[in-house]
Symmetry: C2
Subunit: 753 residues, 2 copies
Amino acid sequence: MNQSSLTCRYSNVAKALKAVILTLLMIMLWQSALFSQGNFPGSTAGVRAGEATWIWYPGDYAIWLANKMQNRRTERGSFLPVFWKMDSHYVLVEFHKDFELKAPERVRIAAEGRFNIKIDGKALTGSPENIVMPSGKHRLSLKVFNQANVPAVFVSGDDVKSDSSWKVTFEDKEWIDASGKASDKSGTIYQSVGYWNFNSALQKPSQFHLRTKQKQAVKKEFLPDGSILLDFGQETFGYVRLKNITGKGVVRMYYGESREEALSRDSCETLDTIMLQHAVSGFDTMTASTKAFRYVQISTPKGLSIDDADMLYEYAPVTTRGSFSCSDTLINKIWQVANYTLHLNTREFFIDGIKRDRWIWSGDAYQSYLMNYYLFFDQPTVKRTLYALRGKDPVTSHINTIMDYSFYWFMGVKDYFEYTGDSALVRTIYPKMVTLMDYCLSRRNKDGFMEGLPGDWVFIDWADHLTKQGALSFEQLLFCQSLKTMAICARVSNDLKGAAEYSKLSNELTRKLFDVFWDQNRHAFIHSDIGGRSGEQVFRYTNMFALLLGYLDSAKQKEVVSHVLLNKQVQAIHTPYMRFYELEALCAAGKLNVVTGEMRNYWGGMLARGATSFWEQYDPAAKGAAQYAMYGRPFGKSLCHAWGASPIYLLGKYYLGVKPTSPGYQTYEVRPQLGGLKWIKGTVPSADGDIQVYCDAKKISVKSSGIIGVGTLIIQSKTPPTTVQGTIRKIQDGLYKVEILPDQQYVVNYVAM
Amino acid sequence: MNQSSLTCRYSNVAKALKAVILTLLMIMLWQSALFSQGNFPGSTAGVRAGEATWIWYPGDYAIWLANKMQNRRTERGSFLPVFWKMDSHYVLVEFHKDFELKAPERVRIAAEGRFNIKIDGKALTGSPENIVMPSGKHRLSLKVFNQANVPAVFVSGDDVKSDSSWKVTFEDKEWIDASGKASDKSGTIYQSVGYWNFNSALQKPSQFHLRTKQKQAVKKEFLPDGSILLDFGQETFGYVRLKNITGKGVVRMYYGESREEALSRDSCETLDTIMLQHAVSGFDTMTASTKAFRYVQISTPKGLSIDDADMLYEYAPVTTRGSFSCSDTLINKIWQVANYTLHLNTREFFIDGIKRDRWIWSGDAYQSYLMNYYLFFDQPTVKRTLYALRGKDPVTSHINTIMDYSFYWFMGVKDYFEYTGDSALVRTIYPKMVTLMDYCLSRRNKDGFMEGLPGDWVFIDWADHLTKQGALSFEQLLFCQSLKTMAICARVSNDLKGAAEYSKLSNELTRKLFDVFWDQNRHAFIHSDIGGRSGEQVFRYTNMFALLLGYLDSAKQKEVVSHVLLNKQVQAIHTPYMRFYELEALCAAGKLNVVTGEMRNYWGGMLARGATSFWEQYDPAAKGAAQYAMYGRPFGKSLCHAWGASPIYLLGKYYLGVKPTSPGYQTYEVRPQLGGLKWIKGTVPSADGDIQVYCDAKKISVKSSGIIGVGTLIIQSKTPPTTVQGTIRKIQDGLYKVEILPDQQYVVNYVAM
């Protein structure tokens, strides 16, 4: 079924009986759609300590859920699936944990799949829902088979509970010989289980769906041909509901992120059909799948009438923990719309955009991770997205088939570890990092560089004149950064040999990067190692990444800023995707005033054109409906794209100036900068708590709430700053610092430069 | 659910409605169980040329079906799944084929899963069931997603049909750039599709099940406590049906391959429960899953009565094409019981035994393949079994975790190719052979030998005193044979570099095998490279395999026959599993008279004890119920084990004397030998036709029907033989040959030696 359709066929013979059954089924469907909200608590922050939760093989739930989500894409009524390998969960897994009980304990068991239960390796008869664990030291094991859904268990007793401390394997190698003697299982690899927030036996992971709430259109317009055009006032996402239908025939819906798109029956990107084969009276129904839209045109045939229509807005129950406001109302509006944009694109996973692909793209997700650390700080969504992107071994292509996207995946693990300090995730995912890196290493050319081989998509950016042949400096830089990530994660995973090897490889590659691609005369990295015009051309990409990733000494930083970043001769960037890094590089180089202006122009430009969420691409020169075209299609462009929300990240990391300096905010830096604004104020979340920052030209105030780590407030001041709460230390002329201890308010008086 | 149970819960409120729905559901279930036979034709010989058939990614259906089958195992009511990795089908695949049509053609489409249809890369709206393919040259593509079942399509028009010529991939890498331009897909690997015999749109592969037919017990006995003991007269397999039940409570069934087992409520290996929570009257029901048994004890509680019970025998609709009869009625009976034994164990796949594991074991399946070539010649069952055993990459352990079983898997591909000539299967499976061989090669010790590493099960045989430490000669010999297989299949797959490498490796290993393990003084291979008593011990295993696989020159053959095979000092073999090879080695060495005697003793011994199918293990010394014990359990032994059916293979290959000498019977040998019998007569099937052979001491007659290849009849005769149909050529003194052309009857008069 690739179209929303609801077909009612009443045969003459069994009409009444079928009607009863149909009604029952519909009631069940509605119940599952509407009442299940109670099952899924309002936060995706994960399981609370000491509580039983559903557990599974790590990563498997993400892979399964991503298959489900990504295969919902349609384009004009046709199913449009991904073009890379989709993997599956392990269908048969064994879970176990050792317990030591003072007294026998009644334990409740729930499982998704066919299962057995063993105590100390001896199977109980059947698959009982209630068991008694004997006192003393015993091992409880469950083995579950499930082809369609992820094998999962929920175990709840007073002490015996399924939680993150359980172990799991997909091959227990538990054979017995002819005498009945069990094998030694020394070759079996046990992993720590995966889990989320399914904290009751009734919340089966396979039944998960996002939450919904009713929304009304703000405007209802009757078109000349009798169709209705609903306007929901802003970009939104969900199901359309039709109410009190009478008659029969085919109802057609044409969705638009813009009014023009919804009115274009021939070119709108998504549409729906609801088919009523037999006459109904007073019938309510809704679309079978979600769509992104602001406008929807509902076209009814003769002989069919609809009383009213509204929508069920579908959303992930993540909490906006970060905040930002300042003296500039346009910047404040930009931050609010960016917040809404990211929220819409934060769903089962971090997706690219809600209208078209609704897929998980590694390059897009990488930016969402970074923004997330300054908005929701939702760790489970990052973990799920990393697992879903990586899939399973064997690696048969780059992530999303794109070379750069494999590298962003590695870098995403690095950032996740730095922001969250979650070494458990690193250790669990490390074997999959190794096999993906093996794939990359096996595809180097004779010079040790990676270049596009058949089947590789070398992306970088949607841009003209950007050749993809040969070894590109951009890809080598990201490759370096991926190798650095490997070295860090190898150490966390106690693979010291690996750590040494990856460090060596990344150092060698860094050296070669500068040898081959750095052009002293042009004060910049050139594009590729192939001669000729485009090979020797300087683009912004490598240069801005080298700056923001810390590959440049201060002399080269300055060269890159003036010869590339602020040089209008170098081809401009048009996608918010790469503007993200361009503006970040400017921030990293201290050019916040430039960035403030760019934000006002570029994001403010979209707002001036009526944007209620930020776009996939924005060209100030395009006018009218032409601004919605992309990929050769009139409405191909997405008007709600995660990568459009980057101001969240820039304002949090460089204006409020908060970032971890050791994993999980054990130590962190707060370096507020006004960037030309009169005052800024906001909150940056972390795993444990929040950091509140206020800054104007004379006063900085900082408070960390609930954070265990120790921060360093860094102040640029014309005169030595003063404070009553802490000790100000001078770093150098005009630069000072104050140590920030937990749960104390620091107010510093200073004179802005 | 791990027990067969049928629970009827009638709430007070909705009793009537639920009853209606329950009845409907049950009618549907019965329909699917009983009437679907019409959907699955009486042969598993595969698709007929020119016919549309369901197609899928090669191997995926086998993997999916094997998961389903192997997870049906229970032991005393507990689910007992396999202990190795279970893989899954690719959930998203793309199928395509290019067609050139003279006129537009209506084409019907059916798919299992969500799908789209493209003509020349352009998607049609929706997922229509009927399309029109335009005239001219066009590509038809379908892309299907299915998480729970295997993505599959059925396409039927006059010329446009889904068949074995379609291509399929799990990653089409069909991206488009910002301008809408499609990628080149030069990195995409397309495979030939997999298929079986689902030759109509209604025969959905996911709905497949084996056929059933009703069978009546031959004896019904009332036990002292009121239980009923049914005897079906012989080993059988299927569902038990209870008829006309009145009352309520729990009906318990205890299955027995022996009477003793069915009577032992505490120790029978399998049992079932049917629970009737609410009183019924005149209710019929059946068990939810199949069991193996001859006897079943049905125990009813007070207040519940059953009028009658019978069974639904479940079987694979394979055809017995091979035949054998001779002057010895005991040997004839052995052949018949072996035929029944193999038929019972030839199901969705070749399984080990029908009572207990019901799993696919590579070592067991290897023997079933060989027997199959002399009985059913069912290629699809061999292919499915090979695919199911191999699973998917990455390889994380040996097949079934057993080192020898990885080697048997390779050898099974070699035999399959030799008997069938199916190079398409070889080419499709070759990449999976390479990765399994990579796994083996990566686990060699410093001497280049494979020895058991942690997690490896080194099996060889159920036998005493057989150490498994160090490098064992037996494993190296099978490793050699696997490398030889790789070289052959590399050539078929046009991997000439691989062929040369594998040949080199197998030659080197063969040389080392003789250097390290051949003991000139003992005229035999010793067991292992570890010194000490057991290391230097001579077992039959390596020696008999070396002989039958052709590793010994004629001098060494004689040494092995007299110093090992016919030497009672060398530890005897007790399993039919290894007796298979022992007797084959004796056959290969020309000792058929010995083999005839052994067959009469060993298999005749089981028959004398009332066997109606051949056992997992037979010890003539064991008496009474003790003969059913194994694995430390009183009824652990299987009384219907595929490996017990080896006389089928020995009588076909060495008595009738028929075997291919080039792939797929392009050339073959017929060398009848009486082995002490007065006359023998039989048929050996091949892919295309049959070879009929008759032989007594004076006359040999041979006819090949429907076979394209050319055979060579080889005759040992005291005097030069005579024939009117062909030309007799002398090979050496006493040895003659006649060329056998298709579809002609050859009668040769000779004088047996």
